[in-house]
């Protein structure tokens, strides 16, 4: 008995890095939040930036209106970054920044802030997300076209490998692919294809001897859904494919450099607005997916809050999720054992299945010319997968407890408090930040900034020069986020990503037969086909919902005008007028509905289409929904309204009523 090898590890494993994706309003308020979180036992920082910062606009830009400080903190220059990290020793901290299009810029601000603290850049540890392809595919905070974007990524990688060696310059994100509806096979295949595109681009820009260290610095940011056994298998499959890619495609000899390193934010897609307390269980099970097996365990974890489908979480909500990580790491015996699944036939079988499926899909992307060229294809596939997922929820094939099954419920005391259980950003933040950035511009050495930006523009035009030194110089000189991005937009041009909706296959007609008939009848009465504008005002790039609505409306027989993300209120109003639409649907998930929706209504009145009915969908607390209805919004839909056909029938009824067309006898 005593000779049998111990099933335990000789020493308990160190826990993963524990973070909370956090940041809101301005630098000072976020700094307070970070310090409190660190006191609570959080071991790393995860900075959430607001959408203007993520897309390269200053708080006083037209497109920033309504978005400043909403989904994250507003950082416009090195003064903001200094305040954000005040009192946090950057030599010891491990900081993850969810930043992509403007990653080079925020990394530069971080380096300059460390410099001010007397910390050399070589000591910095952390991650810039810096993954642009998934921005085109799902998240929407891109700023430049694909070619120049890939160059910015390659430049940050080349720079950090040499100067900031402990930094993870890119987090290849499969997270957002799953949020956009990816199946496990798609999630693996597209993430890996994306990594190949990045590595191939870097290979062009660094000394070949550095490639093994480059490969070793690439980390991933994954998602984990509630099917936690398969999700765990997915991570093992990714580890296997990554190892193989390192060996065969990039000749990486050292197995340490080929290790699949990943951080995780578990699934938000599956979190429900109905009976939101159940989300706590979902989050716990999803956390198991990324921790259970030692050989594919996450390096860093951040968990969503139970109430994300309701609005922005409060510090207490985030603390609740952090405590879950701490219980898992410090109370349970999880970290005392070697890999639990070694030798498991079920796990090996699942992994083999996923590896094979992913290889086939990767081959298809390769045939299309690689991930950059295949953006349209991948986008359309994701829209299609998401549509299929939604169809299964609607038909009941897929059970979502509390949403399409087991729906009767007692009133929840958790959402009963006055604020409805969510964080509301102080509306004065935007005005304050606008004034602050203008003050900053007035007080700095303008000549220094002008020179730095001119140099940045010159380097941007020089394809073979690294953008980072000029970017760091601009950060030092006091340039703003908007100025850095505008300089590059001038050189690189702007870009609109594909919407993916045009290619989506039609639903089997029996699924929409009834609503289609209603659309046909109404169209005949109207004299022309029911025309529906689906608009996404503001900077919010989470277009999955809007895309599904657009595709379903098309399947129901409507003519749908869908122009993608990032529209100004006047663009939406102009489209509504010129296109002659019968109804407008607006989708907003960033919490900026209070500012943007009145602005759209006003612009529509000015454009002479004030009488066209408007419906709104998004993450909208009930109190706000009431206020919107008072403003004249015909209907407000939130994540609990998951039955899209019903929504379509509502829209038909609304248009019929507004046009004085009675219900059929």
């Amino acid at each position: 008995m005593s000779d049998a090898p111990s099933p335990r590890l000789p020493e308990r494993d160190r826990p993963w890095l524990m973070r909370t994706y956090a940041g809101h309003s301005d630098a000072r308020r976020s700094n307070e939040l970070y310090r409190r979180n660190l006191e609570k036992g959080q071991t790393g920082l995860s900075i959430a930036f607001d959408l203007p910062t993520q897309t390269g606009y200053d708080p006083d830009h037209e497109l920033a209106h309504g978005e400043v400080g909403k989904v994250g903190v507003s950082i416009a220059h090195r003064g903001d970054m200094r305040a954000l990290l005040d009192g946090i020793p950057l030599g010891e901290m491990n900081t993850s920044m969810t930043i992509n299009a403007t990653a080079a810029w925020l990394l530069a601000l971080y380096i300059v802030t460390a410099e001010e603290q007397g910390v050399a850049e070589a000591r910095l540890q952390g991650t810039t997300q810096n993954d642009i392809l998934k921005e085109y595919l799902s998240r929407g905070t891109y700023a430049f076209p694909p070619g120049p974007s890939m160059r910015l990524i390659a430049d940050t990688i080349a720079y950090t490998v040499e100067h900031v060696p402990k930094w993870n310059p890119i987090n290849i994100c499969s997270y957002h692919l799953q949020e956009a509806g990816a199946t496990p096979v798609q999630e693996i295949a597209y993430a890996m294809s994306n990594a190949i595109a990045v590595l191939d681009a870097v290979r062009e820009r660094v000394d070949h001897a550095l490639m093994p260290s480059v490969f070793g610095r690439i980390s991933f940011f994954v998602n984990a859904g509630v099917r936690f056994v398969e999700e765990h298998a997915k991570l093992r499959a990714m580890a296997r494919i990554w190892d193989e890619l390192g060996r065969t495609r990039y000749g990486v000899e050292d197995p340490k450099h080929r290790r699949f390193r990943y951080g995780v934010q578990v699934n938000s897609l599956g979190l429900t607005e109905a009976q939101p307390e159940n989300n706590v269980y979902r989050i716990a099970l999803e956390a198991l997916a990324v921790t259970l097996g030692r050989s594919a365990r996450a390096r860093a974890i951040q968990l969503p809050a139970w109430n994300e489908a309701l609005g922005l979480p409060r510090p207490w909500d985030q603390q609740w999720s952090l405590r879950l990580q701490q219980i898992l790491a410090y109370e349970t015996d999880l970290l005392e054992y070697p890999d639990l699944f070694e030798g498991s036939k079920v796990m090996d079988g699942l992994v083999a299945e996923l590896v094979q499926g992913a290889r086939e899909e990767m081959e298809h992307v390769r045939e299309l010319g690689g991930a950059v060229e295949a953006v349209d294809y991948m986008k359309a596939s994701l829209v299609e997968s998401h549509r299929e997922r939604w169809r299964r929820i609607e038909s009941g094939e897929l059970t979502v407890v509390g949403m399409n099954r087991f729906t009767s419920t007692e009133p929840s005391p958790l959402t009963a408090d006055a604020d409805g259980g969510i964080l509301v950003v102080d509306p004065r933040v935007e005005a304050d930040q606008r004034a602050a950035v203008q003050r900053w511009r007035a007080e700095r050495d303008q000549a220094l900034v002008d020179r730095a930006l001119a140099e940045l523009a010159r380097v941007a035009r020089e394809e073979h020069e690294n953008i980072m030194p000029a970017t760091i110089e601009a950060a030092r000189a006091g340039a703003t986020t908007g100025e850095w991005a505008a300089t590059l937009r001038e050189v690189f041009g702007e870009y609109r990503a594909p919407t993916g909706v045009g290619e989506a296959a039609a639903l089997p007609s029996e699924q929409v037969a009834q609503v289609r008939e209603e659309v046909e009848r109404l169209s005949e009465a109207l004299g022309r086909r029911l025309k529906f504008l689906v608009g996404k005002p503001g900077l919010d790039g989470h277009s999955n919902g809007a895309e599904q609505i657009a595709v379903r409306a098309r399947d129901a027989g409507m003519d749908v005008v869908y122009e993608g993300i990032r529209l100004t209120p006047s663009q939406i109003a102009t489209s509504a007028a010129q296109e002659g639409v019968h109804v407008v649907g607006l989708s907003i998930l960033s919490g900026s509905h209070r500012e943007l929706i009145p602005a759209v209504l006003e612009a529509m009145r000015k454009a002479g289409v004030g009488e066209v009915p408007v419906v709104v969908g998004g993450i909208i607390p009930e109190a706000d929904a009431e206020a919107l209805r008072e403003l004249g919004i015909a209907a407000v839909y939130t994540p609990k309204d998951w039955d899209l056909n019903r929504m379509m029938r509502d829209i038909v009824a609304l248009v019929a009523e507004r046009n004085g067309i009675g219900a059929p006898a």
Partner: protein
């Protein structure tokens, strides 16, 4: 009830004649509409804008812009619209979305790709789904182009060139610009396809590609010369700051100045009438006219000032008497 439609059409025609650009959405709503009342109104509208009513051909320049998907038509149009606007010319774009109708509905995403100032009242963009055939013109597009040409300085019909639609655009437009990109196989395919007679101006995009683009331009010029065709070839780049856009604008203007506009418009009206007739009466109707060719020959002999409605009615009475 039925009289109201006519008044509405006449009123819209008056507004367009007076160059009231804000009438454009209502004009399109009307032309797309299929109720009996609106058809009558649409006829009134078009009659009010016919050469007989205007005392001349509609002054706007109707330009067809066509080419394969992904060639950069929308970026090109963004630049062209800016060019025209800088010269104070008003522009209407009828974007025929390549998305074919599925399940009766359609997703229209084309206007998103044309960047314009949404607050500029001198630009109007309207998207419609392609006709039932892939890439074909939507039924209302011909009528809309004719109507808007009386109020806008430039009317662009943007279509995706996949087979038939180039020639359809040629039936409607004063000037047809075909857009190709270098090194994509477009150029070669284009040369092979034997549709050299169609374009009035050939646009090679992505001139920023340098030698590849220059090569494509000279290949096309050589091929055109060999065919004895006189289309201009212009290389452009839509990448900021843009290149060749003013030259393209000038080439389009030159073409328009070089043609016999009334003759071209009369031909367009005849084809339009025939298309309307065929939609209404089908193959059987065409047979009653002795076939499409015969009908075209007969139309060519009619008074060039006749508007589409008069021509359609003439065809109908001829078919009825046959």
């Amino acid at each position: 009830m039925s009289g109201g439609g006519g008044l509405e059409g006449a009123e819209l025609a008056r507004r367009l004649r007076e160059r009231d650009l804000t009438a454009a959405p209502a004009v399109l709503n009307l032309l797309e509409s299929g109720t009996g009342r609106s058809r009558e109104a649409a006829r009134e509208l078009l009659a009010g804008l016919a050469p007989a009513a205007l005392g001349r051909e509609a002054p706007g320049h109707v330009i067809g812009v066509t080419g394969p998907p992904g060639v950069g038509k929308s970026s090109l149009l963004s630049r062209l619209v800016a060019h025209w606007r800088s010269g104070e010319r008003s522009v209407a774009v009828l974007a025929v979305d390549p998305t074919s109708r599925r399940s009766g509905g359609a997703l229209l995403g084309d206007r998103a790709r044309i960047e314009v100032d949404p607050t500029d009242p001198g630009v109007f963009i309207r998207s419609t789904a392609a006709g039932t055939r892939l890439g074909g013109l939507a039924p209302a597009t011909r009528a809309a182009a004719a109507a808007l040409a009386s109020a806008f300085d430039v009317v662009v019909i943007e279509t995706v060139g996949v087979g038939q639609s180039e020639t359809e655009v040629a039936d409607v437009a004063d000037t047809v610009a075909v857009v190709v990109q270098p090194a994509s196989g477009d150029v070669l395919q284009f040369l092979k396809a034997g549709i050299m007679e169609v374009p009035d101006v050939l646009v090679v995009t992505k001139s920023d590609l340098g030698r590849i683009a220059t090569r494509a331009v000279s290949d096309l010029r050589a091929a055109l010369r060999a065919l004895g065709a006189d289309a201009e070839v212009v290389a452009v780049s839509a990448l900021p700051p843009g290149a060749g856009i003013a030259e393209l604008g000038a080439a389009l203007d030159r073409h328009r100045d070089s043609i016999d506009l009334p003759a071209r418009r009369a031909a367009a009206r005849r084809l339009h009438a025939l298309a309307d007739f065929a939609t209404e009466h089908g193959e059987r109707g065409l047979r009653a006219l002795g076939g499409r060719r015969q009908a075209e020959r007969w139309l060519a002999e009619q008074d060039p000032a006749l508007d589409v409605r008069a021509l359609t009615e003439a065809l109908e009475s001829r078919a009825a008497s046959a």
